[in-house]
Structures are given as C-alpha cells and as structure tokens.
Symmetry: C2
Subunit: 256 residues, 2 copies
DNA sequence: GGCCTTTATTTGTCAAACAAATTTACATTG
DNA sequence: CAATGTAAATTTGTTTGACAAATAAAGGCC
C-alpha cells in the first residue's frame, strides 16, 4: 500500500489590491510597460481584473507609494508609469535605510565598518580622478569645520558635505548615488556620535589629512586616515554608550 | 515707488490619502510610533482626520507598500507598525531603482565599474568571513550554471543568487542591504548583456574561480577574477552594441 | 479539559454618486 | 484673425453605505 503524496498549492494571500499591484509591477519589471506609458483607466482596469474600482484604486496607491506610477485628473489624465528622478529614488532609499537604522536593524559596529569600506572605495577612485572643484569644496569644508563658533548641527552638515564631495570625486554616478544614499541614511547615527561627544578638532584634522593625501594622490595615506577616523568614531560611540550606562545606574539628582 | 513683494505659499498637493500617509509616516520616523504599535481603527482614523474611510484605506495602502505597516482582520485585528526585514525593504525599492537604471540614467561603463568596485569590496570582507553556508550556496550555483539545458532566464537568476551569496559572505548587514539592492537594480542592464550575448561557460568558470579563491582565502586571486569578469562583460556589451549599430545601418530584409 | 458554536470586531470588497481637475472644442468680442 | 470666456467630456479623487471575510474570545456542551 503506497501512501498518496498530497501536494498543496500556495494560497493566494494578501488581498486583491495587493495581488493586482504585484501584477502591474511585474509588467513594469519585465519591460512590458515603460516610463510614461499610460495604464488603462481605473474603470477599464476594474473591468479587466473583474474587481471593483476602489480595489483598483488601492492597488494603484500601492504602486504610487513605490514611485512606480503617478496619476493625474482630467480629460487626458490617467495613471502613467513614472519616470523617476535620481533624487526621488535616492530619497526613497534614504528614507527606507534610515528607518532600518532607527529600528536597530543594523548594529553600530556594522554601520561604521560598512561606512569605512565604502569610503575606502571612494578614496581609491578619487585619488586618480579628483578634480579641482572637489578639492576646493573639501578645503572649504575643512576651513569651516575649524571654526569654534559653529553649532554642532552645522558641523554635522559640513561633515556631510565633505563626504559628498569625496563621493563626487569618484566621477562615477552609480557610486555617487550609492554613497549619497548611505551618507544621508546614516546621519541619525552620526548625529548620535557626533552631536554629543564629538571632538571636532580631531575630525577636522582627519578631513584635512584626507584632503592633503588626495592632493598628492597618496592613496595609502588617505586610506589610513579613513581607518583612523572610523576607529575614532567607534571609540567615541563606545564612550557615549558607557557614559549612558553609568548614568542610568546611579541616577544622580538632576540640577534645576 | 517700491514694488510690493508677493509671496505665495506652497499649495497642498497630492490628495488627501497621500497627505494622511505622510502624516502617519512622520509619526513612525520621529519615534512616536514603534514597531508592533497598533494604529487606531480605520473608522477612528477617519473620524480623527475628518475624511471618509476609503480615503484612510488608500493612505494605509501607501504605507503598506512601503512595508511600514501590516494589517489583519478580526476581533484583535487592525493595522500595526511593521518591523520590516531588510529583504522586504530592499524588495520594495528595487523596481523603482531598476526603472531608473533602465532609463539610461547611468552609463554602462560606470555601472560595470561601480559593480566591480562593490564586488571587490565584498571579496575583501568575504575572504576572512566566509562561512560554509555561503560557500555551499555558491558551489551549488556554479554547478547549476554549468548545465546546458537551463534557460537564459534561469542562468541570470542563478547569477544573482551567486552574487547575493557573496554579499552574504561579508557578514555585514549594511553591506548586504546595499549589495542586494544594487544587484537587483542592475538586473535590466545585466539582462541586456547576459541574455543576448553571454558566453555562459566563461561566466560559470569565473564564478568557480572566485569560489576557489575564497576557499583558500586568496583575496588577490578572487579580486583578479572579479576584474576579469567585469572586463569580459564590458567586451560583451560593446560587441552587442556594435552589432546593433551595424544592423540599423543596413536594414536587411526581414524574413517572414 | 477539549471541542464546537456564537458573537463581536476589524479589515476587505463592492456599488453608486458626486466633486475636482484638466483638456479640448466652440462661441463671442475687439 | 487673435484673444478670451464658456461648456462639454473625461478621468481621477472622495464620500456614503452595505455586505463579506477573517479572527479571537466567550460561552456552552460533553
């Protein structure tokens, strides 16, 4: 007697709207729909999918939230496959990455390490490609960072601009895109380290060293300083953590 | 006589549903709402925002498409702030990013170069961190890629899995996230090169070499093969472009 | 205690109506 | 003929109201 082998097909889950959105997304992914193509009207889609128009609308809202379509009212209106800008996609990526960061999905040491590796990658490319414009930007920021009167916030903003200039110096738009996203997304963490415990002078000096190394195309020196800066940040962050721990233990009286 | 300076305030655009989704999203990103928190019911949100329930639903669909919330029916149902996985978030972002890539926003040489640099970064990390699981995955894919009966599509899918295993081998979740997103986003370009002109045997052999180098922790050898693979892809793509150019010039008669 | 049924609750879907935005076509005026 | 205004057509955006589907909890029965 042989036991019959029973195969169960996967259930259709997730609701109609989600399934419809997924179907339309596939037709974008597989190239059947291109940027600026117009989707059928909501009424027509409802007829084709044999569902109600509000269900179609819910599906379209899902697609809009992923920047895959945009909609417009009127005689020549409709829903169109979006032609996303670099800024739009980067902004979505940044938001999503920052959310993962804030949820603690990435551990601080991992973040610092990844940042270091990506920076090293930039340095490697920048050494042979740096233009005067990027060097000038970095120099300007280094000068700015050495002022004692600027706020922590402004110092952080300058830090971002310095690292963006470094990414610009790769002269590779894909790498720039990736780096800008990472730099922006990691700002909340950077702020945590930088804003509270940062020794500005050390950071500014390190930036100056990176800049000097790039000027003379000394990749090894620049890389060394990047590593040094990461180690310094790691140390500063650990110190901030330790201080926070001892604070919560002893609960000193709060001044008025 | 001084001309009065007229200031126009920005119009509220994007529809009610979009605005509501944005409001709720802000309360997530600014920490007021945490993972697993329950939102008010749809009816209650409709009351609070003074809009209809379908409008709330449309807003919630936007949030769901960004993996920020998940919903469930029933007595203890409702919409809950999601704790998204990295895979889930990455998956939401890849179609829009791939769309950007397919629009020619990035030049092919830049793409290939960036891909190479990011791969080299992975190799650098993977050499000292690779676990047996990743090696096994890569070996499985190399075997699979050597079969002659698989479709081009399946070969490409296996290629993706190989490179994802390499990213896994870094054991750094930030890098994994970045790499997964980049690998997926570059698929349209990869398909262009791979699908039409790919010499599968060459690619599979190169994967095998990378794997062998990782097994014996030979970073230099692995890096060399990554560079070789990029050069090969560049050459294959150039050949595909040249062939397309000569075709369009002479317009041969089309077979029936 | 285990199992079944009922109830309450919330999201999911549908139908129908009207509003808002947009373009096009047509009429009027100078 | 050009400029301006109005009406019509079309599509998305929003509302109201109803019912379906899914789920957990409570209560009853054995």
């Amino acid at each position: 007697m042989v036991k019959a082998k029973v195969i169960y097909k996967p259930l259709m889950t997730g609701g109609l709207a989600k399934q419809i959105a997924e179907r339309i997304r596939e037709s974008i992914t597989d190239g059947r729909l291109k940027a600026d193509d117009r989707l059928p009207t909501e009424e027509e889609l409802a007829r084709q999918f044999q569902v109600s128009r509000p269900t179609i609308r819910e599906a379209l809202k899902r697609l809009a939230a992923q920047s895959l379509i945009r909609s417009r009212r009127g005689a020549t209106g409709g829903s169109f496959i979006n032609r996303p800008s670099r800024e739009e996609v980067s902004s979505n990526l940044t938001t999503a990455t920052a959310l993962l960061v804030s949820l603690g999905e990435f551990k601080i040491p991992e973040i610092l390490e990844a940042r270091q590796e990506l920076e090293l990658l930039c340095v490697r490319q920048a050494v042979s490609r740096c233009g005067q414009a990027e060097l000038d930007t970095m120099a300007r920021e280094v000068d700015y960072q050495q002022r004692e009167s600027i706020s922590d916030e402004d110092f952080c903003a300058s830090d971002v601009r310095f690292h963006r200039a470094l990414a610009d110096a790769t002269h590779n738009s894909v790498l720039k895109f990736v780096m800008f996203t990472v730099i922006e997304a990691l700002q909340p963490i950077e702020n945590m380290v930088v804003y509270r415990v940062r020794e500005r002078k050390v950071i500014a000096r390190q930036h100056e060293e990176i800049l000097a190394a790039l000027r003379v195309k000394d990749e090894a020196a620049a890389a060394e300083t990047v590593r040094e800066q990461t180690a310094y940040l790691r140390e500063r962050f650990d110190a901030a953590q330790a201080m926070r721990k001892s604070h919560s233990k002893f609960r000193p009286a709060e001044p008025a």
